[in-house]
């Protein structure tokens, strides 16, 4: 059986927090518990100021196994306002990493 993961095209993550609340609603997690945590990076290159966001799946992420079993997408993937998250088998998602820069693949446990 292949392993599944989340591919995130973080060049286009706008920091909207939707993935986090989507996860909390789906799992009925109380405030303080969430399977994905948004992080913000503000830094300077030698030319300019940069702002990047990255949502970081953690040990509370179960890749929405109940949803997936019911034929739905993981809640964060479906609701992401910038549509930057993709769910699938790791070997397929790796191909997305080859396509464009600023992408990352997470394989939560």
């Amino acid at each position: 059986m292949s392993r599944y993961g989340l591919m995130i095209d973080y060049d286009f993550c706008t920091g909207c927090h939707t993935c986090e609340v989507a996860c909390q609603q789906e799992h009925d997690y109380p405030a303080g518990k969430c399977g994905i945590k948004l992080t913000k990076f503000e830094y300077e290159t030698f030319e300019k100021l940069c702002i990047d966001y990255l949502p970081f799946p953690n040990d509370l992420c179960d890749l929405c196994k109940d949803r997936v079993a019911a034929g739905e997408l993981p809640s964060c993937v479906k609701h992401c306002q910038a549509a930057v998250m993709k769910y699938g088998p790791v070997d397929e998602l790796v191909k997305d990493l080859e396509e464009r820069h600023k992408r990352v693949l997470f394989v939560p446990k």
Partner: protein, 748 residues
Amino acid sequence: MRAGEGVKEYKCTVWSAGAGCHGSCGQKLYVKDGKLIRIEGDENNPWNQGRSCSRALALKQYMYHPDRITTPLKRDGARGEGKFVPISWDEAFDTIERKMKGIREEFGAESILFCQGTGRDVGGPISFLAYSYGSPNWVQLGLSGQSCYTPRLGAMKATFGDFMVADCSQFLEKRYDDPEFEYPEVILVWGQNPPPTCPDGFFGHWIVDCMKKGTQVICVDPRHTWMTTRAKHHLQLRPGTDGALALGMLNVIINEGIYDKEFVAKWCLGFEELKERVQEYSPEKVAGITGVPADTIVSASRTYAKAKNAGGHWGLAVDTAPEGTTVAQAITHLWAITGNIDIPGGSVIARPSHGVTTYPYTTEELVELYGQELVTKLNDKRIGANEYKMVRGFRGWAQPDRAIEACKTGVPYPIKGAWIQTCNPLGGQATRTKYHYEALKGLDFIVAVDLFHNPTTMALADIVLPAATFAEKETFRSWWVPLGVTQKAVQVGECKSDWEINFELAGRLNPEIRQRWGSVRELIDSRLQRAGLTFDKLVEQGSWAMPPDGPFKPYRRHERGLLRHDGVPGFNTPSGKIELYSSVYKGFDIDPLPFYREPVNGPVAKPELAQQYPLTMISGTRNPLFFHSEHRSIPWLREKCPEPLVDIHPDTAKELGIFDGEWVFIENQMGKVKRKASLSKTVKPNMINTEHGWWKPELEGAEPTLFGVWDYQINQLVPGPQDSQSGFGGGQYKVTQVKLTKMPEGGK
């Protein structure tokens, strides 16, 4: 817990899924045993295509919050004491009817103000109630200069005879896959960071969708934002100088001859006059005013003008510029002379879907709903309509700065009451907040309709009526597209929809209403007739409909004779052309051509003030977790941003000895407000940037605390009134001079 197994699914096209915003998302509500158990974006709705936002997804916590007001309340004690007792709807309606009729008899209907904020579907029901009662004073009270979209709407109507929006395929059912659509080569984003907002019938992330497909953005913003860091050009102007920048860009495009000559010759009027006017604004001069280097102005203008198709998107900073209506006009000229009008991926004409009116955006719509006679009669009494011809001639708002002054001074006539509906002026939009507080305190009778207590209900309300969330109501929406309906999925307490409340009361205050419609549903169906649809039919087909080819759907309608009543090709203006020299503005006694004016209390116009208060504060920066003054009590949202922050440049912080995370005062001649310092180079050293709408629901509601409003409400530092020529625009939210001071022990 999918549909089935005792779970019912309700599909809705929602005005404000994220409780308050201006999107038109499709949402699916899952209900079990009369309770909402889950909300999901609807993948079959072309607007959001399954996406959602943090606020919509937190709907359960919002709806079933222990602080939710679920019965009508009446004040039991002095105003501000925070003592309310539950009453029945009958008692509430009877009391309100008696009081409002009494006031109308003794002082005239105009002595009650009908105050709204923004968000939800409130514009329709509140104007309906005001007109049914006979008061012309429908107003976004506290919103100085009505500085949110109305100035831009007025400018578009004058220039094009219609409204325009950036085309991101939103008028097409198949969206990006429709072969007629072409991605914009460029989008000019003026005065907004679109992703955290869903402004004015527009989903902010549509621009992100286009960027992924190669669209380049030009951003006009004094701040660095996610979007500016990805822009081809970032025009980082001094706050409030937008008017000069627009004129400078027009100067470049006209003098370099890179405008669309054929389009201008065929469809525009007044080009020579505009050309002459923009000569006063060379890129070098504009660079001096705005702080944007001249070569950046030139190269951005070229990128925009030379693009095959370019969209124009904009935000509230345009309205709040001094003379917002003229700044907006100059920006519309950029769209027009480059020929980016009603073409795929350009700026397209936007009309309420299928011609159905919910929230009236024009005088014409008001006349259609309420008749010329009533509108004319009310206009004579409308506050500000006699001083400002544009306030009289465009839409139906009372002028907010004058309206609050009338409460205090009795000029032009005494104000006796206020109907405040899903609006929290004291915690949100009101500049000069203390002045508003004192003026409103003096009124005889105040009703607030809301979902939660807030500083406004606490300080002022005599009666509070519990409003419903969208999951609890039937309503309809036609703000651009699609035409949509929301079905009622559940009931919470005794809450009612704004339409239900206002319909019942309108019937009591004006018997004609009950002769025309038996219920809210009948009223909705009567308005949907235009579309040849009914509420039930829309529900049946998934809750939305896109307009068929014709006047309500792009493209190139001016060529096809679809815009004017006479069916002649052209635009819906007096001359049939895009009026660069505006006959409509001339009729309003305002300059028919755009011009620049310095922010009235800015560092250039008032150097002595800037000496004392050296930092320019931008208030109103958006946070995707909150809608204006709402949501601070929702656990899933508040935990992600527990305190109000102020962005301070590290150099400035160093000079003042301020550390990251320390509490500071922002202070000026109006007062002082608390903020937590966030050191960031997203602002320049002479600016600070902060969110509005902060008060703390967890604090004491009764006076004097009022949920901490006097500690956190930033707009109390914003002076007023605005003083633009048109009466619209110029609320000073984006240019307020302040200083920062440390608190003892860093505020611990």
